[in-house]
Symmetry: C2
Subunit: 159 residues, 2 copies
DNA sequence: ATTCGTAACGTTATATTATAACAATTTCAA
DNA sequence: TTGAAATTGTTATAATATAACGTTACGAAT
């Protein structure tokens, strides 16, 4: 029901980043897990935009003076961040996006704008329920529903 | 609305394959596109099971006397088969599955059984509509909705 | 039947994404 | 303090996908 719109172009993204990192601390503390330096760095990089970010883009962005960490380091951090819901995987792009919202692990629908690359999120119970109902009719017990929708966001539609 | 159930274990799969290939001919003829030898071979391999098949599994299965075609050949055939709706991509698995059904390009929901690996398909308008409604509320113009659901199929639930 | 443009395929090389295996280090609590 | 578990480092490799370009096959028009 709680429908999160796309971030406006030109918004103060610093605030998104700050809020994201504070939120991350909270989430991890509550869950009794550790937001280590590596995990924080990866989240920071992914959070720098609302677009999908590839694992190797993260890797590159984390590079300090030509010294880069190994891919596995990024993937490990990503796995962790996904496990606590701070990052979503966008499987149709083999990429990732930071979750700037506050849903609590309930299924999300990802909207991917092909024009500007931004990723929006919906948390529509009706969608989840429709899937649930349809699956049940087929006797299928849902583990996890992945909904990824490509298209054009509101800002790009009017532009 | 038209809900396709999972194929029963032990069903006569030869019939599925035959039907699939006949259907493929029809579809291609109607669309005025060519179901070439390579494309046919790729579809045959993927159609051999109701499971998700990786591109390199196809490649391996197409091998004749140690002579294997190049990956690009398989990917090209896959792109073609997807374009005419004879194959679906399962992006959460980086794999593909033959479409044994007769929906006409309308959005499909893929059900992936983690127990037996089988892939079922739904064509629930209610799901598509719920997504459409939710997206519209956010001002998002849908290009294509991808719905992939992992879980346990009816046969594996009772087993 | 010949010609010509396009679609399909072959060939080689390479890009991109992701994980395996095992050692070293850090953390936290008993 | 010390020992088990979690995290990270290091090296190597697996798995998935595409680029570039030349050749062949097909089908329509002359
Ligand atoms: Zn922002
Ligand atoms: Zn956009
Ligand atoms: Zn079958
Ligand atoms: Zn099953």
């Amino acid at each position: 029901m709680k429908s999160q719109s796309f971030p406006k172009p030109g918004h103060d993204h610093e605030r998104c980043v700050n809020s994201l990192m504070v939120h991350a601390e909270t989430v991890c503390r509550k869950a009794g897990v550790r937001l280590t330096e590596q995990r924080r760095r990866v989240l920071e990089v992914i959070g720098r935009s609302h677009k999908a970010t590839g694992a190797y883009d993260v890797l590159e962005a984390m590079e300090i003076k030509g010294r880069r960490t190994a891919p596995i380091t990024v993937y490990r951090a990503l796995d962790f961040l996904m496990s606590v819901g701070l990052v979503h995987r966008i499987s149709c792009l083999n990429a990732f996006t930071a979750c700037h919202y506050r849903h609590e692990q309930s299924p999300v629908q990802l909207l991917i704008c092909k024009a500007c690359g931004a990723v929006g999120e919906l948390e529509e119970h009706k969608v989840t329920q429709a899937i649930q109902t349809a699956a049940a009719k087929a006797g299928f017990a849902i583990d996890e529903p992945f909904v990824e929708v490509t298209g054009k966001c509101a800002h790009c539609c009017t532009a």
